[in-house]
Structures are given as structure tokens and as C-alpha cells.
Symmetry: C2
Subunit: 291 residues, 2 copies
């Protein structure tokens, strides 16, 4: 990290050592990206696991103790826990501390960051990666490699603090993308939050179908597996996402329903030409995407 | 295949050497499961590829020539092409020939198989595996390994013909599951056809969102990739599925919409307890599934 001055000497406190926080701590520590990684977790066994793996240098269950001396604090907890923790740690932070989060929605978090003392630097963050497993057992230090990592500054965020945030993002192997919180929340509603609602509803529908035909589960192949994978995500995280990005998600859901109803009407009519056109437009675009 | 008498000496004609037919021919030939594999394709270059890979012993673009001398005929074409080919090959088949298909819907195919001459043996088939790529380039002889492979006999299908079908299924590494055509179509509507409609609609919604925010594609991560994967499936196949299993698909779509609307209402109300309950029920069931 010699090319990123101001970060190599930092003490980074990671609050929450689940999939995201555990992976971030692991990436920082194993890449020796900063001077010290302090882990904060409610559960002592999580701290033990993180210490054993060499992902943190020091662990504590005390939020204030763990963050008060840090140069960088990363809150890696669900969106609504982040809101609470920002209120709790604010008064105890050192002047100049960079306070980041990794939550899946940004507007509410950034509003809460406005309430931080003027002497600390707020910066929203959201790494665009994940998997349906939760907890430190699912964490892996290469989780961020090559992935976009959104950074959302406030007007009060200094240029230096934004650079420090970028340095942290690069240090874990990700690609920094600066994006306004409102833009972020509007865009991820389409590509992340809407897919969660769809996966949950698809599971709900199959569960209804299984009441008549319990054997249908044995016929579920890779298509069903992939389309419903997001439904297995952490319920707390999904709940917080839905409750902190309601407006954008509801708008995306309305557009999805229009598309779904259009497809329903075309299948019902059995009119081949317009049905083919509808299928081919979506199919072509999907194959063009380099996912 | 010495433990499966009546199959090792067979000449198997595979009609259509795409993802499914190519993989099946490849599995039969490379496992030396039968005496001869004859490939039938409209495109000479597909036959050349199959011959070069050792997946067929003989290839022809002539449907009648390729099937007239076979002991087993497997139609590996889209559902509505299967319907047409059954009419075309029927009068030319040898007495005792086993006629199978691999189409994703079974009721219409089985009705068409009723029209085959009394001297041949009809048996519907549907291997529960697949991927979004099409064509022989995507084919792989291990595609069926360990997967359920539905077999749907007609009342007129002899026990010996069903056993021969099971032998073929086992010969390609799959697990035979005997299922009535109507039951099959009702069940796969939930776990395969409905997910296709959902993936297409999700792509349609994101395309609408991208008109305002073209940058959203760069934020699409593994969740979006997996949830929309089925939208990249072969349009011809999707069209044929939708048009040959309309009633079951429309019913499943209606139930999906109920689930989706319920989730919408819960997010809109922002009422945490029932929203959490809805999320947790689907999430718990999804994690229980061994997919």
C-alpha cells in the first residue's frame, strides 16, 4: 500500500464480522494493507474465529472501545443497525476519523451520517458482491476482487477522506465507483433489490404449488436453483433493505409487474409473433450483458 | 451396459444435436452404451462437429433416412418441432422401434405420440438439466450425470419399452423417474416454466430502468446474474414451452403474482412483523432445499 499514503499506517475498526465485514477484515489483514485491524462483534466466538484466521489483530465486543481509537471505522452491519451505531459511536470518535459503512442502501445511511460530529469524515460504501450465505463462515478475503465498490460522499466529506476511502477499496482488491446516494439507491433497486423480491415471490409460489404436488421439489433443477438463490439471503438484511429503500423498490416492482402482466397476456392469447418478439428482446439483451 | 439387455446392441438415432441431443449422443457414444449412434441435424456442420468429437457414428440431414432403421429414436428438438417430426417419421419406422423425445412439456407430445403406428413404442422423456446456452457447442456428455430424467409412458407403452427407456436413461448417467405427462407438466410449470417467465420479466424491468439510468448494468452483480440467467435461454424453446403448457403456466403465474402483490403491500405498509414473517418463511424453505 506504499502508493496510497495515509492508509498504510491506519488502524481500521471493522464493526460486524459477517460475510461482508469478515471478508473486508480478512482482505485488509492478509494483504497487510493497514497497520492494525480491530474487529467488533457481539459474539466472542466470531472474534475468536477472526483472530485464529489472522483476519483481525484485536477483537472486542464493545462497540465504543473498538471504534474510539480507530483512524477508519467500517460499519459492516445491516442498514438499520448502521443507523443506530452511527448515533452511538459519534460522540466517542477521534477527530479526523473516516466513518464508512457497507450497507446495501445508502440514502438513509447518508442522512444519519449528517448527524456525526463535524470533526469526523462520513463516507457511504457498498461493495457490489455477495452471496446468499451469511456469517463469518461464509466470509472470504477475495470476495471484493475485481468488483465495483460504490462510494457515496456527503458534501461535507473532504477530498482527502474520499481518497482514503478509495485507498481502502483498492486495498481489498475492488474498484472504487463514486456515486450519489440517491442515484445508488435508485439503480440498485433494479439490479439487486427487485431480484430479491422476485426470488422470494418465486419461492412463495413454488411452496403453494407444493401443497398439491410435494414431488415438485425433486424436479427443481439449476434454473430454479439460480432464480431463487437470493431468497436464501439473510432475512435481516432483506428486511432492512426493503424498509430503507421502499420508494425505489416499489417503483421497480410496479414496472416488473407491468412486464409480467404483458407476458401473461401474450401467453394467454397464444399469439406467436408478439410473444416471440417479447421473449427475444429480453433474451438478446441478457446474452449481451457480460455477467 | 451388459446389465441392461436389449440396449447394448441397439442403434440409437438422435434427432437434433443441440445442447440436449448433442449431450445425449455424446454420452451414449463415449460410454459405448449402444451399438451405433446416428445423428440427424439440419446443418451439415453440426454433423461434422459431432463426428469429429466421436459423439455419433453416422450423420445425416435426412430425418427419414436417419430414423427408419433405428431401434431407438430420440427426438431432441423443441416441443413443437417434435410434434411435426412425430407425424413425419411415424409411417417409416420399423416395428418395435422405441420413440422418445426430450421436450420440456409432455402432455401435447404424448397426445401426438398416440398417433404413431401401433407397431412402435412411444415414451415421453424430459431430462431435468440444462443451461442457458444452446447448440452443440454447449453440449457436454456429462450433462445428465446424477440428474432426474422423467419418463412418461402412454397406456399402450409396453413394460419392455419402458425398461429400454430406463436403460437409456441410466446409460447416460441420469436417474429415471416415471411420471404421468399431466403430472409432469403441472409440476415443471412451478419449478421451470414459471422461473423462465420471471427471469424474462426481470430483464424487461431492468431494461425499462436502464432507460433512465444506463449505468445500472455496471452495478449488476451475481444476484442479478443468477436471477435473470434463464432469460438467456433459447427463445425458440421458451416460446414452445409457453405455447404447449399454457394452462399450467398461467395458473402458476397467477399464484406468483399473488405472492408478489402480498410482498409489495407489506413493503408499502412498512409493517415490520408481517414483512419479516413473509421473508423468513420463503428464506427458511429455500435454505432447506438441497439445490
Amino acid at each position: 500500500m506504499s502508493e496510497e499514503p495515509g492508509f498504510a499506517g491506519a488502524c481500521v475498526a471493522v464493526v460486524g464480522l459477517g460475510l461482508m465485514g469478515g471478508s473486508l477484515a480478512g482482505a485488509l489483514a492478509t494483504r497487510q494493507a493497514c497497520r492494525q485491524v480491530v474487529g467488533v462483534s457481539r459474539r466472542p466466538e466470531t472474534l475468536r474465529t477472526a483472530l485464529e484466521r489472522g483476519w483481525i489483530h484485536h477483537g472486542t465486543t464493545d462497540l465504543i472501545e473498538g471504534t474510539a481509537q480507530a483512524d477508519v471505522v467500517v460499519l459492516a452491519t445491516p442498514p438499520r443497525v448502521v443507523l443506530r451505531q452511527l448515533r452511538e459511536i459519534g460522540p466517542h470518535l477521534q477527530a479526523g476519523t473516516l466513518v464508512m459503512d457497507l450497507a446495501s442502501t445508502k440514502a438513509q445511511v447518508l442522512r444519519a451520517m449528517e448527524g456525526l460530529p463535524a470533526c469526523v469524515q462520513p463516507l457511504g460504501g457498498h461493495p457490489m458482491c455477495g452471496k446468499e450465505q451469511a456469517g463469518i463462515e461464509a466470509a472470504q478475503p477475495d470476495l471484493f476482487a475485481g468488483r465495483p465498490f460504490i462510494l457515496s460522499p456527503l458534501p461535507r466529506t473532504s477530498a482527502g477522506a474520499l481518497e482514503q476511502g478509495k485507498a481502502l477499496v483498492r486495498a481489498v482488491g475492488a474498484v472504487p465507483v463514486v456515486l450519489d446516494a440517491a442515484d445508488h439507491d435508485r439503480m440498485v433497486a433494479w439490479v439487486s433489490h427487485l431480484p430479491h423480491t422476485v426470488a422470494l415471490s418465486l419461492m412463495g409460489a413454488a411452496m403453494a404449488g407444493a401443497q398439491q404436488d410435494p414431488g415438485l421439489w425433486s424436479l427443481a433443477a439449476s434454473g430454479f436453483r439460480d432464480t431463487t438463490r437470493l431468497a436464501a439471503s439473510d432475512p435481516d438484511m432483506m428486511l432492512d433493505i426493503f424498509l430503507t429503500n421502499q420508494e425505489n423498490i416499489l417503483r421497480a416492482m410496479n414496472v416488473f409487474r407491468e412486464q409480467f402482466d404483458k407476458l401473461y397476456a401474450l401467453i394467454e392469447a397464444g399469439d406467436e409473433a408478439p410473444l416471440r418478439e417479447c421473449i427475444e428482446a429480453a433474451s438478446r439483451r441478457r446474452r449481451e450483458l457480460n455477467l
